[in-house]
Symmetry: C2
Subunit: 205 residues, 2 copies
DNA sequence: GATGTATTTAATAAGTCTATTAAAAACAGT
DNA sequence: ACTGTTTTTAATAGACTTATTAAATACATC
């Protein structure tokens, strides 16, 4: 039996519900009902529902973002980067299937959160370094003549589009073709392999 | 001055707001405030907010879906299909930039709407024909040896992933890189060309 | 112009939601 | 065991929601 700590229990329940149903559709009553404590505790520990959300959101964002940059450092060549990155990305999202939708959704809906990301991530040194590293990898291959001349941003967008969309659309796949967990997992794995092939083939000369 | 017709004015306002902010975040008061009429009219014309939403949702879905099938019939070869389809798809979504997010969002959130799609679209003859046509196009090219052996579903998913994600993430691009309408349009056009190249290159042998 | 129907409004019921407040309970340290 | 602090609860204010109702207005047809 874990030590009872309502603050973190509320965080966990909120995380689950926010990711499942989004900010609007989740009430503080839902959250505390899940924990089994009084609704006022949300305000006691986090002041407002919005602040609780922000805490969870930036936590999740930091998680996924630090994961992304971590993966890029390990790579030596571009093709290595691509397949390694997509593999790790898929593995990461497989254990957090709803995360892509959660993040995209809130970023699209809420302009404030976009500004937050811009300042915290896009303008950060870490991102600039990350992008420069990727750019070097790409330029090296272009010079060698192994790939066509492509913007690193396009490459990155291809990877993110195809990976993220796979997980966003997962509930659709599940219900359209009546698949169980195993079926879904097979589908995800197949998509992963196919996406790697498409991208590597697609940038080759 | 158009003939005043509050029923359709409500529909239009609701369409705008639902697409902009989603079902939950839009209130019937918002909608009628926009039109400038009494809130009770929503219930008078559409019985419930949910029914109003459903009407708009299936209208939009029908629009995009009939567009997709229309485009497939015009194509003769696979490469023709791909570039023609992506071009038309992008053009369509350029005039309805928020539509992809709207549809995906509601489908992910609401299982009932997924079931609706399954019955109305996936299981329809029209879809089955559509898929068979695509399959024939793909098989023909595989036999000719011009492309690698790929599932038509994968090809379709590639196209949809890359196209839809471009528009879903548009607000992010806009705010991250501080682009105006012209900048955004250039970006969209560049992405379109790049996506066509990636896919055609990516399925070639 | 009277009469029946369709449209629109104002008022409001009944529910939900978040945040606040004051009191109660649990837990320290002495 | 007493005292001060932290945690938790119950109760509730106040602001929204959607949907319903009955009354008012506009419209059409005879």
């Amino acid at each position: 039996m874990a030590k009872k700590n309502l603050e973190s229990e509320i965080m966990l329940a909120a995380e689950k519900l926010f990711i499942e149903k989004g900010f609007e559709a989740t009430s503080t009553t839902d959250i505390t009902k899940m924990v089994g404590c009084n609704q006022a505790l949300v305000n006691y520990y986090f002041r407002t529902k919005e602040k609780l959300f922000q805490k969870i959101f930036s936590q999740k964002l930091e998680h996924i973002w630090s994961f992304m940059t971590l993966e890029s450092n390990k790579s030596i060549s571009l093709f290595d980067f691509i397949s390694r990155f997509i593999n790790a990305y898929f593995e990461e999202l497989t254990t957090n299937k709803k995360l892509p939708f959660f993040i995209i959704n809130e970023l699209v809906i809420n302009q404030e959160r976009r500004k937050f990301i811009r300042e915290e991530i896009i303008l950060s040194d870490k991102f600039q370094n990350y992008y420069t590293t990727l750019n070097n990898l790409v330029q090296a291959e272009v010079k060698k003549g192994t790939i066509r001349d492509i913007e690193p941003s396009d490459l990155l967008l291809h990877i993110i589009s195809l990976t993220v969309f796979t997980f966003i659309s997962l509930p659709l796949y599940e219900d359209f073709f009546l698949k169980d967990d195993v079926g879904v997992q097979n589908y995800v794995n197949d998509r992963k392999e196919e996406i790697i092939i498409l991208i590597i083939n697609g940038i080759r000369k």
